[in-house]
């Protein structure tokens, strides 16, 4: 599956109102709910927090990658948000974040589509590890540009 197919502009918000980690997770989860990716905001957020407890998701460079396998996830995808000011988040470099990639994943399924989608998510994660991509992410001015930076 093409990475471009996985990314959905409906669940990208470059002007999040959230100012705290909890607000970010709720705001992005509400987007996921609105577009059929999850069936319950509080349940999904609780599952994300469960993963947070296992290890930090602020990967440095003001980027956070919260994720968790959740039975409330109905579709595999990724909500992306940018906050207007920095948000406190447990990070490897002790810095706050303003770019959040909330992975939406459900558990084990024996299907080709499931594997292909997870492979696309893995490819996206790989891009987030690339210095070149990270540099450009902070400067994107539109959802289209964000998708381009992640998929070229």
């Amino acid at each position: 599956m093409e990475l471009k197919e996985l990314l959905d502009e409906d669940i990208i918000e470059l002007n999040l109102k959230a100012t705290t980690k909890d607000e970010v997770l709720h705001e992005l989860s509400k987007l996921l709910l609105a577009h059929g990716y999850i069936d319950d905001v509080e349940g999904f957020v609780a599952d994300i927090y469960a993963r947070e407890a296992e290890g930090i998701t602020g990967m440095g460079d003001h980027i956070a990658i919260p994720h968790g396998i959740s039975p409330h996830a109905k579709k595999i995808g990724i909500a992306i948000g940018r906050t207007s000011s920095m948000v406190e988040w447990e990070s490897y470099d002790d810095e706050p974040v303003n770019l959040i990639f909330l992975f939406c994943v459900y558990g084990d399924e024996n299907s080709g589509t499931y594997t292909t989608k997870l492979q696309a998510e893995a490819e996206l994660a790989r891009r987030l590890g690339s210095a070149g991509v990270i540099d450009q992410l902070q400067h994107v001015k539109s959802k289209g540009e964000l998708v381009d930076v992640l998929t070229k």
């Binding site: 990967m59 990658i65 396998i69 990639f101 997870l118």
Partner: protein
């Protein structure tokens, strides 16, 4: 230097792949050949072959969950938690270079 490695994080969704990319880029920027196998929810990708392991100067195991190391018997292994490579992959490669040159 020929570097091979394996990455494996707890959920197997994100960190595994991000850190693999970071190590790969840092190693290549420093002029080394590098192949990193990822072990995630979808299973192992970019799997290391026996030849690649045999020819490697060093094996990096970067993980927050158990990884089977029996494939790497007799090799120089650098065993680190995910956060070490996430925080500073360049410094990791530099430290490995230093240790291998001692």
């Amino acid at each position: 230097m020929k570097i091979v490695g394996v990455t494996a994080c707890t959920a197997g969704i994100a960190h595994t792949y991000i850190v693999a990319q970071k190590i790969q880029e840092a190693a290549e920027a420093a002029g080394h050949q590098c192949k990193i196998e990822t072990q995630g929810t979808i299973g192992a990708e970019n799997v290391l072959t026996e030849d690649e392991i045999r020819d490697a100067n060093v094996v990096i195991i970067c993980h927050d969950i158990a990884v089977d190391k029996s494939r790497f018997k007799g090799k120089r292994v650098v065993d680190i938690p995910i956060k070490v490579a996430m925080k500073n992959p360049k410094s990791l490669i530099a430290t490995i270079e230093k240790k291998l040159n001692e």
